[in-house]
């Protein structure tokens, strides 16, 4: 929808300097006070909340990991009971995957993508606010349940028949299944926003081949979320139906099938790994270009790799099911795809190494984390190629070898780039630099601690230690390696404590960052640190893949947007040619109220099917409120 031109409307081509900034800030700012904060639809405010909340869940998930490592540090320890251990490893996996890894990547995207593509707000900003509240409420629901001893204890994959009513008669499996629904709704909402932002809100001139690599990575990730997550929502909803109203989706005696669960779960579960990893590669590309002082070598090759990885990630899920008795030819097909996905990942790694080789690297903390990523991820990839093979997988299935493998891939592939990203982009978000000295300590503690914690698990798996056991006997001869692993885990945890100290110190006493402290090339560094509510006073025009390196101080801009109301510029998909001006929604309390109503509906529906009846009217009311015409300028279209 386009805005009709209003002849008397004040536009940004007649104001300049401080006058323009002040006027735009007045229009785009989040209202003050608690009520104002709850109404915010600014992508930077929502992004910051998302980041802080996701890191809070990382902290909680990390505490659980330490509890498990204390329990396993020696044989026959009684620090945790078997029941508590089951809850803790389930909570650890669910928290890390659903409440930290996916949301934190989306959180960075919510904050950075609009700035990187040179627009003033994310597409569908109210949906963005709704998404955050859903994520927060879903996470709180899971953790409050855990504190009341109703935490799920069926693994982060909740296999049937273990999670059926017969074997889990309490509400624990329902809590897991409904937490999934919360977080998936949130993730799907963010993905839609990212796709539309990247396709329609790019600055003029930012053609498809000038989009920053991090933005490309988030675009591919968003498509993965949109195609993978419906599968797990179908699975978790049908599980709740089986448990609540006696449907028989997973009951073989009535025509259902337990393997249906595994197919639905892993059709989501394997792309999930790439939903976490691909944003990490985007972060790596951004950091690497800045600190190697040259554009990343092989821009088209990296895009090709991202797209190919995205597609291939949907053809690997059966490698999680090699021991379920599938036809060997079927398993062979998935072995082929699983090994082939190493090709695009390998292409990216060669591009990054070539960039380092050809650049003039400056070894600051973000780059250290990127180098740590390359080392750890390559090791994780190698063990991945091993378990892609049916005979090896059959041997090591459900052992600690697999635990080692996926921690190398997920922590190496996502957490190390993420920590690099924190050091790289926090100055933009807070306006203050993190301490370089503490950062280097943080990196080395994390790198050494991680490898001491997880490398021994490969050996433990190969000598037969199974996953998900709460203790073991002294005769098994696993004690020394477990003790070593627990010591490494403590070091690794210490590195996160150091990060926290660094962030708190920096917020209070950190050096002022300035607009572009790293002399980086992408548009988010063209605005102040932290950015003003409007993002940019004028929308930049992009003429180069690295606009700040090419145009430096004199970045061309486009003028003509309203300064009396929230307005963004829409551009064409491939060429990014200006098309129309469109209103951007004002702050609103309705996204929060809709999230509250949805929460009541979701939680109620694990206790009674009648919640579908009494839960939907409040949702309908809040949605009507959300879309009710207010007579504001944004409705005059």
């Amino acid at each position: 929808m386009s805005m009709a031109a209003e002849p008397n409307e004040l536009r940004d081509d007649v104001l300049n300097g401080l006058q323009l900034s002040t006027q735009l800030e007045r229009v785009w700012r989040t209202p003050s006070g608690l009520f104002g904060a709850l109404m915010s639809v600014d992508h930077k405010v929502v992004g910051r909340r998302y980041i802080v909340t996701a890191f809070a869940f990382l902290l909680l998930g990390g505490v659980l990991a330490i509890l498990m490592r204390v329990q396993l540090a020696g044989p026959e320890k009684t620090f945790l009971s078997a029941d508590k251990y089951n809850q803790i490893f389930t909570m650890h996996g669910s928290t890390m995957m659903f409440l930290f890894a996916v949301p934190v990547m989306e959180a960075f995207a919510v904050y950075l993508v609009p700035l990187m593509v040179g627009t003033r707000n994310i597409a569908f900003p109210r949906l963005n606010a709704f998404s955050y509240w859903m994520f927060l409420f879903g996470g709180c629901f899971l953790w409050i349940s855990f504190l009341f001893n109703v935490g799920p204890d069926v693994g982060w994959f909740a296999y049937v028949p273990l999670s059926n009513l017969q074997f889990t008669p309490t509400k624990r499996a329902d809590v897991w299944a409904q937490m999934i629904t919360f977080t998936e709704v949130a993730a799907l909402a963010v993905s839609v926003e990212i796709v539309v932002t990247v396709f329609k809100l790019r600055a003029p001139g930012m053609t498809l081949d000038r989009i920053p690599l991090f933005v490309w990575a988030m675009l591919v990730t968003s498509f993965l979320v949109m195609f993978a997550m419906p599968s797990i929502m179908v699975a978790s909803t049908s599980l709740i139906l089986d448990r609540l109203v006696n449907t028989r989706f997973y009951d073989p005696s009535s025509g259902g099938h337990p393997l249906l669960w595994q197919h639905l779960f892993w059709f989501f579960g394997h792309p999930e790994v790439y939903i976490i990893f691909i944003p990490g590669t985007g972060m790596v590309s951004a950091i690497l270009a800045t600190f190697a002082r040259r554009p990343v070598i092989g821009y088209p090759v990296i895009i090709l790799s991202l797209i190919a990885t995205g597609f291939l990630s949907f053809g690997l899920w059966v490698h999680h099911m090699f021991v379920t008795g599938l036809p060997q030819l079927g398993a062979g097909l998935f072995t082929a795809s699983s090994m082939l996905i190493a090709v695009p990942s390998g292409l990216q790694i060669f591009c990054w190494l070539a960039t380092l080789w050809d650049g003039r690297p400056v070894y600051r903390t973000p780059l250290l984390f990127v180098i740590g990523f390359i080392v750890i991820f390559v090791l994780g990839g190698l063990s991945g190629v091993m378990v892609a093979s049916v005979p090896i997988d059959t041997q090591v299935h459900d052992t600690y070898f697999v635990v080692a493998h996926f921690h190398y891939v997920l922590i190496g592939g996502a957490v190390f780039p993420l920590l690099g990203a924190v050091y790289y982009w926090l100055p933009k978000i807070t306006g203050r630099m993190l301490s370089e000295r503490l950062g280097r300590w943080n990196f080395w503690l994390a790198f050494v601690g991680f490898n001491i914690a997880f490398f021994p698990m490969h050996i433990l798996g190969l000598i037969g230690m199974p996953r998900r056991v709460y203790t073991y006997t002294a005769e098994m001869d696993w004690a020394h390696l477990n003790l070593l692993s627990s010591g490494g885990a403590l070091l690794f945890a210490l590195s996160f404590a150091l990060l926290l100290v660094n962030v708190i110190y920096s917020l209070r006493k950190g050096e002022l960052a300035g607009d572009n402290p790293w002399s980086a090339s992408t548009l988010e560094w063209a605005t102040t640190s932290p950015p003003p509510p409007q993002g940019f006073d004028r929308i930049p025009v992009v003429k180069h893949r690295d606009p700040l390196w090419a145009d430096g101080e004199s970045l061309p801009v486009v003028a003509g947007l309203s300064v009396e109301r929230r307005e963004v510029l829409l551009t064409s998909l491939a060429e990014a040619e200006p098309q129309i001006r469109e209103a951007s929604p004002e702050p609103s309390i309705w996204p929060l109220l809709t999230a509250v109503a949805t929460t009541v509906f979701f939680i109620g529906s694990i206790f009674t099917p009648w919640a579908v009846l009494w839960g939907t009217p409040p949702m309908a009311v809040t949605l009507i409120g959300w879309f009710w015409p207010t007579g504001s300028k944004e409705d005059e279209e």
């Binding site: 000038r210 190919a308 053809g315 036809p327 079927g330």
Partner: protein
Amino acid sequence: MTEATGRARLLYWAGVALGPLAWGINLQGVYVLAHFSCESARMSGTILSAALTIVALLGSAISARAVRRGAGAEWTDAQGGGPRTFMAWVGVGNGVLFALAIANQLAASLMISPCLR
């Protein structure tokens, strides 16, 4: 935009679309056939994979032709600014990569008996 221009624009994207599409059909097709091909149609998976390898390569060829036909001038690597040629190049690579993936699966169907459980 004329109809001919519209068709020409679509050709840039052929490799990006055809490679993954062929691979997806192959994966699902052979996986489904594996359940039946022990009793009959033992070569069905092999034939399907061979045909789809060609489809993926065809995608690459169409994208390569689009690049050669004059789009090359619009794109200079360092600056960007030629999105269609860029996507055509990505299409060339994509077609080859997915042809490789299908060929790998073809090798599996040649080596492993569909009767093995």
